[in-house]
């Protein structure tokens, strides 16, 4: 199958490439940029004039809900949503039921994703059995079955001794550990940032120390063990400072942020809007400024969606009784483009944080348009505006605080391994 992507603005930070040119795909691989390779012959032509052509997006955190919670989302529905969002690879946390603490579950997820054919799904394995925080999960076997990294999700390992053992064992096999830091006692029953709005609405709050204490504990154990570590979906300015200081000490650590934390803050949570019940919660304007700065200084290397689809009933209750999270796959790119519009990042910089940076964090060869690499490609119109109607989302989760909002930037075509998996 040959494809010529014609006349688009091809942006690839890995080659410092940003020019209007043609891109050629053959047998699932990028074979040329600029002139057609000899004997390329006839091909399907995708007109990319006025569009941006970049590597398919790599999302470091997207909940698929399968197995276990298929009323909220399935691998088929959520990977279809990913394709519509220009995302070709996504990492899914182990908080399924059963959780990803044995190879069979890891393999089932990848098989179902392959059957659906919309996006590559890389499972994160559980760090401890049943995410219980007591017994080490079979990390080596899980890794052999395709788990790209290991995490105890947002359920911290209570015993620092157990956590130390987990990190030592992961370091033994050079496995990547991902922390989604949150102290259980400080976050207990909380549903909103500990600020004036929480007090006004009388909601149980989550102080920033719920995150920073756990970041600090994990950083010290990472330093002791030398394990490869990544911190996901940070929400506080002080977390960024801790990460920055550790990076300056030479620790091999990376971090990401969910795009909505760069745009919204706790002051937006008004009138008990359950669509804004998020964990980690939207923090203060100062925290948001710190996260945005962390993005610029590259303390935060990547931006993710933190996609958490919910069924309608999970959001139809008083604020604290609803389930947290937003459906984010199909808004990741347009929301991220706001950072360019706001002149925080240049477009190639943004694309790096959505493609090659997450690939590097995960140790993948993807996230690039280099000749010979897999043709995972996103073609989007950076200027097209559209109104977000939740019912038109491909995701089963219609839970978005951006419903009815006008977004700029729309994915037109997504290629996965050289095959068109989405066309607007």
């Amino acid at each position: 199958m040959k494809i010529k992507i014609e006349g688009g603005r091809v942006i690839d930070p890995t080659q410092e490439l940003d020019q209007i040119t043609d891109l050629y795909v053959d047998s699932g691989v990028i074979v040329a940029i600029g002139d057609a390779p000899d004997g390329f012959g006839s091909a399907e032509v995708i007109d990319a004039q006025g569009k941006v052509v970049c590597a398919g997006l790599i999302d470091l955190c997207a909940h698929m809900r399968e197995p276990g919670f298929t009323r909220k989302g399935t691998i088929a529905s959520e990977t279809a949503a990913a394709a519509a969002g220009g995302i070709t690879t996504l990492v899914t946390p182990p908080t399924t039921s059963p959780c990803i603490d044995n190879p069979a579950v890891a393999e089932l997820i990848q098989d179902r994703a392959a059957d659906a054919g919309f996006a590559r799904v890389l499972p994160m394995g559980a760090l401890t059995r049943d995410l219980g925080g007591e017994q080490l999960a079979p990390l080596h076997a899980l890794s052999s079955s395709g788990c790209i990294a290991f995490t105890n999700a947002r359920q911290p390992v209570p015993s620092s001794l157990v956590l130390l053992r987990c990190l030592e064992y992961a370091a033994t096999h050079d496995l990547l550990v991902i922390f989604q830091p949150q102290d259980a006692a400080l976050a207990h029953n909380g549903c909103i940032h500990d600020g004036a709005n929480a007090t006004r609405m009388g909601l149980n709050s989550i102080p920033e120390t719920a995150e920073t204490i756990e970041v600090a504990r994990c950083l010290l154990l990472v330093e002791q063990t030398g394990v490869r570590a990544h911190f996901g979906q940070l929400s506080c300015d002080r977390s960024i400072r801790l990460i920055e200081a550790a990076q300056q000490r030479g620790l091999n650590i990376t971090a990401d942020v969910a795009v909505h934390h760069l745009l919204l803050c706790d002051e937006d949570v008004s009138e008990f809007d359950a669509a804004l019940h998020l964990i980690p919660p939207l923090r203060s304007p100062l925290d948001r400024a710190g996260l945005r700065q962390g993005l610029v200084t590259d303390t935060l290397q990547a931006i993710c969606s933190d996609h958490q689809p919910q069924d309608l009933i999970s959001k139809q209750a008083p604020f604290a009784d609803t389930e947290p999270g937003l459906s984010g796959l199909e808004t990741l790119l347009p929301l991220s483009l706001k950072l360019v519009e706001q002149q925080l990042l240049a477009l190639p910089q943004l694309i790096e944080k959505l493609t090659s940076a997450p690939a590097r964090i995960l140790g993948l060869d993807d996230g690039t348009l280099e000749i010979g690499s897999r043709a995972d490609i996103c073609i989007f119109d950076p200027a097209e505006t559209w109104t977000l109607n939740p019912e038109k989302l491909r995701s089963n989760g219609w839970n978005t605080p951006f419903a009815g909002k006008t977004l700029t930037g729309r994915v037109k075509v997504t290629l996965l391994g050289g095959k068109v998996v989405y066309r607007d």
Binding site: R200, L203, L263, D321, F402
Partner: protein, 334 residues
């Protein structure tokens, strides 16, 4: 820089600014609060008459939906509705539907299908009344009888009525709210009401464990000590301290709390000589208030109870009238 729109216009008002739900005091105008107090005053006089009924809610069905146990609030709402000639249904949901797994939304939709005209709702979750008014039954008047830690607007308004009866204008008043501010929906509504009515100074007095963060943002002065906090105040509003609080790390013991924050005649001496004492009830004698104070000449606790019926009659009649105006403007809803 927000990416979302401003909060929608208050959902508790009609387009012409009439009350159609009563969910929170926050955001209402001084004129509207004064209208509630004036209307309530007229019902206070009426309640002293031989015939205590008016036909303002005749033919209407009021459902008291209490997802949390209550004696005082439920009975005053029931009496208020009956004195307005409404048909009243009391539902204690905590022991009914929710224990069978029914969602709040389904419970409400069922009751709406029975053609109820007004829901009086108490729920343990903050925002429950907003949720019902916004997403479940916008065409039924919703009165918040207490939601989580968020609001208890009729309690605050009966407190304001009591203060006005005894002190007149709010402008020169110093008011202290004492005790468990953190868990108190009453305190939050009192603060909003006092601010809107223009009280001279609003203080809160509590140990840090019982104060929510950023409480100053609500426009209050924070005190940790009774001596300083009660100095020169005109009104002392005590809050109930739930005994369960001792089982966590919030307070060491009832005795220590009483010693430091319990309102005794000794501590009341810090306030102005004519300062009055209020409490939303039920009171814990010897925990947050001394019997001699609760039963003493400066206590307005019983006046508060009497005023509670009048205030509830006022907001129920006003919200029903606002709701009817709204429905007449949108005939397709009928």
């Amino acid at each position: 820089m927000s990416e979302l729109n401003e909060a929608p216009a208050s959902i508790q008002l009609t387009s012409s600014g009439q009350l159609k739900h009563f969910l929170t005091v926050e955001g209402l105008s001084r004129e509207l609060l004064t209208e509630i107090l004036d209307t309530a005053d007229s019902f206070v006089d009426m309640s002293a008459q031989q015939v205590k009924k008016v036909p303002l809610l005749r033919g209407k069905t009021v459902v008291n939906l209490f997802f949390e146990a209550s004696t005082r609030t439920l009975s005053t709402f029931e009496l208020a509705a009956k004195r307005l000639s409404a048909d009243v249904l009391n539902l204690n949901i905590s022991t009914s539907s929710t224990s069978k797994g029914e969602t709040l939304k389904d419970t409400l939709m069922t009751l709406r299908a029975m053609h109820s005209d007004m829901f009086v709702v108490r729920h343990s979750s903050s925002g429950a009344a907003h949720f019902i008014a916004q997403h479940v039954t916008p065409d039924v008047a919703v009165i918040n009888a207490g939601d989580g830690r968020h609001a208890h607007p009729t309690q605050a308004m009966l407190d304001m009525l009591t203060i006005r009866q005894h002190k007149g204008d709010f402008a020169n008043l110093k008011v202290a709210i004492v005790g468990d501010i953190l868990h108190s929906r009453v305190a939050r509504s009192q603060i909003h009401a006092l601010k809107i009515l223009g009280a001279g100074e609003i203080r809160v007095i509590a140990p840090k464990t019982l104060l929510p963060s950023h409480i100053e943002a609500m426009g209050v002065k924070v005190f940790q000590e009774m001596a300083a906090g009660l100095r020169d105040v005109d009104v002392v509003m005590m809050l109930r301290l739930q005994k369960e609080r001792m089982q966590t790390a919030l307070l060491p013991s009832e005795a220590e709390f009483y010693k430091l924050y319990g309102l005794t005649n000794d501590k009341l001496a810090y306030a102005k000589a004519d300062a009055v004492v209020m409490h939303p009830g039920p009171i814990n004698r010897g925990v947050e208030i001394e019997s001699a104070v609760a039963d003493g000449p400066r206590s307005l606790i019983m006046n508060q109870v009497t005023n509670g019926i009048a205030v509830r009659m006022a907001v129920m009649s006003m919200a029903m009238s606002g709701q009817l105006t709204d429905i007449q403007k949108q005939p397709e809803l009928i």
